[in-house]
Symmetry: C2
Subunit: 638 residues, 2 copies
């Protein structure tokens, strides 16, 4: 027996079997409903409203009585026994792919403001793949070398620097070669790629198509996937797009994902989810720029170790089990066709090297982007992604660790948290009980992104609206109220001023969640410094990375105890350094080599085996810290 | 409507459609009927006898009146309109795969007797693929590198000479890696291959399987395919097998094959035919030696340029058209799985480099095998295959050309010609009208191979039974008689002494065919020498190669004018140097590099554009030559 299901507001129609689960059936038809627990009923994100028809459901504490009366259910706990009309409310929709402005990700000026980079000049323009137009001498009785050797001779003439390199071609292309050369009257464009001084021709096109050569840089985050479409003739970013990682439906952190991968067909589903996410971004980019996917001739990919495993369809099982072993940190050379990546099938795919199970290619990308491995002074990179990774060191040595900060600063697990996108509240100030905010793109607000979350905690704390434990001081303002779950919340924007027609608030559990995150990051840095026999004063510079949008208020990050209380001119906010590093590798051979050297140079420190980390953790769960002497400049707010 | 067809003597039953052609339908069911014209009705090789049933046929001058009465037809000119019982007579059967003794192909002693080989020592044992057993340290919290880097570290420890090489692995293997390592309790055998200093792991087996590592060397001849199964731990040849190239059904020379390849599905059929031929040989070898095909971890292949194109499924169209351009002379790195070769799918396949459309990797293999590119004195290599190629030169330079000798010395186009195999007459002497012969393996004769054909012509000429034009002097012996086609023939063995129950004879047209072949070879050498400003006296050594079996009588080859009349100690018969060279490449990196250098060093001389070649050709169509002064030692037989 089949049932007809209509999903509102898009009026998408699907047919399901009797007793199918709403969340599963929606996901399998490409209708995305938010979920971060993988359908376990523990995240409460997949609320939908049944408008008509009968259904079997389990009740949940995430559904209030009032909601229940309106037809709200958790999609993951509701089975279909009738034709249904189902509304997916705004808060349960997974956002569509959004275009992102270049400067959201590459605040080049802040990198330039950072300490001098002696080796900067080494990053010459040498993309993974290049196209060359060839006018080839036609064969004669007196010049009768074979087609393949004729084409290589022409390439060596045009690019004498390759003369000592071996040049290869796939058998498939060789089969087409004689026809291609003669059909084109010996004028063809070849696409060349290089790998360990082995060059390969991956495509041959008739006539001069050299101007159509593009690459894709990809940052695979646990939460967010960001792509840059790059012109490989100039290095220019033509367009960029980002969206949520579709794997979010299977869990919101890497451990949950790994556990899901161990279920039957789990790895297959996770792999499809990330490949779909990326391929949809690529489709959107190629549509916008009116280019052919076959003209995307290389890809460069940064991601944490688990994400890279899932993307390459490699079982990540042992990452989560002591002694925490990935299958691979230095992924081998692969081609797009090997991994369902919808670009030129022969395109090389470069995955940036990782360091350990919890420090991946996204972090080596960050080191590459900020250049801290070139300085004689001590620098720190803090990447506030889903995991929270820290790198400490100089040109001699690099230590790194991950501090399980969770995805709070990416907006995940926060009631109105969203990632940096148009309409995200990114800046908040409270003066005399008056709250001012600004949003990205100056759009009506639809949620709060990481920088806005840091601001609101700092402002609430500065104004005495929360105490140092993060609890509301109820009498301070009438913006504090109890919600239907009997939890205190603070009103940030009233619903009539929002895009989502709901009050945007921050709840007490949101605040605790953020305090846990900031505490883990700060303690990670402190323990790593102590491991190296250093203290905060030894740090010459701190690079703060993360997908915060255009803005991060360092002062406020110090007030909440996320960043250490050292002189403000020692900080640079460098945005999404993972995508910046991936893009550098896409266009420079020296960057590709450098990132391997960086990964080899980095020593991973496992925080879970450092007794200090566990002992001191509770000390960090205060604003800014139990030991206020660590934050002298914040004392005034006590 | 389907018809049931029974083929005798093997009683193989197939079902055909109405009006199907007997030859096509037999070939498509793997029942091999001889044919060298590709079904055009011009070779007369595909005679079959219809024992019962009705059929439509075209008459042919190849079928005598007597044969017609017995039910003989040409399979290619007969269509099926009824259930049939068809006998394939012995002479129309394509021989089965035969085992060959090692010494048939590698008369190592004759190579050793040849001039000193200064660079011989450079060929160290370094097979294309090797297996190494690894006991890998298990991961701990304090040694937590990834599985892939752990395995590479162990390899570098075991083989420090690789430390500066890049090590690669396929994504497919990487996906299985974590399970393999843990299932084997960290004791695995890896198969490593090298290519341009890039090493790759192509297989990982549980426990110690290092002793099971084999390679296959293949000589793809236009007529005959020869394979060696080699133990890659020792270099020893374990077994060898040879058979006719199944492409023989589509034409007996490269030009006919190329023309066939241009028909619809022609290339596909030719490619399948050669792949089937090789795969059947491999099946027979692995069955004999009781080894797994997956343990054949590399292949090395020598063949003429057209054969390599057809084997790789590359269109050879332009090889036969002025200016005679192959697609490739230096084939790229390929894997067994890319080309339907039934060995380990990831096994690297090394194709020896060729020089031009009519001088292929079989000839560079020959130069490698005899080592003539190392000597300061002038040497010559003559390969009497289907094409007849010559190389002239020393360590400074190498000239080469092909002389379209045809496959007569391989027994093709000769009524009772067969290739060197058990039962082949390889040696013939006539004294006082008494004929003595010996066969390979001392079996009852079933035909005459190349060395026997040279002997019979020389003996007939010495004894005055044929004149210098190759015509029978009828009154000389009662062994000369007229056959049913009204042609004179000479009786060599009476049918009651043969395996085939037929008189083995040589006909006048056989003799003319052989004279044309020997003339083309001799003239090719003469023109090449003149091109280099040299004459026969300048030659220090001549290496004669070809699939003649264990024996070639140089003296008799000179008497018939095939080889020049220079001192006999300047000749070495080196057997099948193509398979020897292929085997050397299978087991030595230096050989693989050397063969590329040899191919680059060789200059191809197109004889068809040398006016001398066409002008002097008729002068060579005599025994030994029109100008008897070129053969002073043969004068006595005049």
């Amino acid at each position: 027996m089949k049932h007809k299901i209509i999903f509102l507001p898009d009026e998408e129609i699907i047919f399901s079997k009797h007793n199918d689960n709403i969340l599963s059936v929606a996901n399998s038809h490409g209708i995305n409903i938010a979920s971060t627990c993988g359908g376990e009923g523990t995240c409460g994100k997949c609320k939908v409203i049944i408008k008509s028809g009968k259904y079997n459901f389990k009740s949940s504490h995430f559904i209030s009585q009032k909601e229940k009366e309106q037809g709200y259910v958790l999609a993951c706990k509701t089975d279909i026994i009738d034709d249904l009309i189902i509304e997916i409310p705004a808060e349960s929709r997974i956002e569509k792919i959004s275009a992102l402005k270049d400067e959201f990700f590459t605040p080049a000026e802040s990198i330039e403001k950072s300490p001098s980079r002696p080796e900067e000049k080494i990053f010459t323009f040498s993309p993974i793949s290049q196209k060359i137009f060839l006018k080839i001498d036609k064969p004669t009785l007196f010049d009768n070398i074979a087609d393949w050797e004729r084409i290589t001779r022409c390439i060596y003439n045009k690019k004498p620097e390759l003369i000592n390199s071996h040049l290869n071609i796939s058998l498939d292309l060789l089969k087409k070669l004689s026809k291609l050369l003669r059909d084109s009257n010996w004028e063809v464009t070849v696409t060349l790629t290089e790998n360990n001084n082995l060059w390969e021709i991956i495509d041959i096109q008739v006539n001069n198509t050299a101007k159509n050569n593009f690459g894709i840089a990809i940052d695979i985050g646990t939460t967010t996937v960001v792509t840059f479409l790059v012109n490989l003739n100039t290095g220019e970013i033509l367009n960029s797009k980002a969206t949520h990682n579709q794997q979010m439906s299977f869990g919101d952190d890497v451990i949950t994902r790994i556990m899901y991968s161990e279920k039957r067909e789990g790895l297959e589903k996770l792999n499809s989810a990330i490949c779909n996410t990326i391929n949809e971004l690529i489709s959107a980019l190629t549509l916008d720029e009116k280019i052919s996917k076959d003209d995307i001739t290389s890809a460069s990919i940064a991601g944490n170790t688990t994400m890279i495993h899932l993307f390459l369809d490699i079982p990540p099982n042992f990452i989560r089990r002591e002694p925490y072993i990935p299958v691979v940190n230095f992924p081998p050379n692969i081609k797009a066709k090997d991994i369902k990546l919808n670009i030129n099938p022969e395109a090389p795919v470069f995955c940036l090297s990782g360091v350990a199970s919890y420090v991946g290619g996204d972090i080596t990308a960050g080191v590459l982007a900020c250049g801290m491995d070139n300085f004689s002074t001590i620098s720190v990179l803090i990447d506030l992604g889903t995991n929270g990774e820290i790198v400490l060191g100089n040109k001699e040595w690099l230590l790194t660790s991950a501090c399980s900060a969770g995805p709070a600063f990416e907006g995940v697990g926060i009631k109105y948290g969203i990632r940096a996108m148009d309409g995200a509240i990114q800046k908040i100030e409270i003066h005399n009980n008056i709250l001012n905010y600004t949003t990205i793109g100056d759009k009506k607000p639809k949620g709060i992104c990481g920088s806005g979350l840091i601001d609101i905690i700092a402002e609430l704390f500065k104004n005495g609206i929360i105490d140092k434990a993060g609890k509301f001081v109820k009498e301070k303002t009438n913006r504090i109220r109890k919600n239907e779950n009997d939890e205190y919340e603070f009103l940030i924007v009233e619903k009539n001023k929002t895009q989502i027609n709901q009050d945007i608030v921050i709840t007490e559990s949101d605040i605790l969640n953020l305090i846990h995150s900031k505490g883990a990051v700060f303690l990670g840095l402190k323990v790593l410094l102590e491991h190296a026999g250093l203290n905060f004063d030894n740090i010459s510079h701190i690079y703060v990375a993360g997908g915060f949008g255009t803005y991060l208020d360092i002062e406020k990050a110090i007030i909440i105890g996320l960043l250490p209380d050292i002189p403000r001119d020692r900080f640079s906010f460098i945005g999404n350094s993972s995508i910046t590093g991936a893009k550098m590798c896409l266009i420079s051979k020296q960057a590709r080599e450098k990132v391997k050297t960086i990964a080899q140079k980095m020593t991973y420190i496992e925080l879970s085996t450092e007794p200090k980390f566990m002992n001191e953790y509770t000390s960090t769960l205060f604003l800014p810290h139990t030991d206020i002497n660590l934050f002298p400049s914040v004392k005034k707010y006590y």
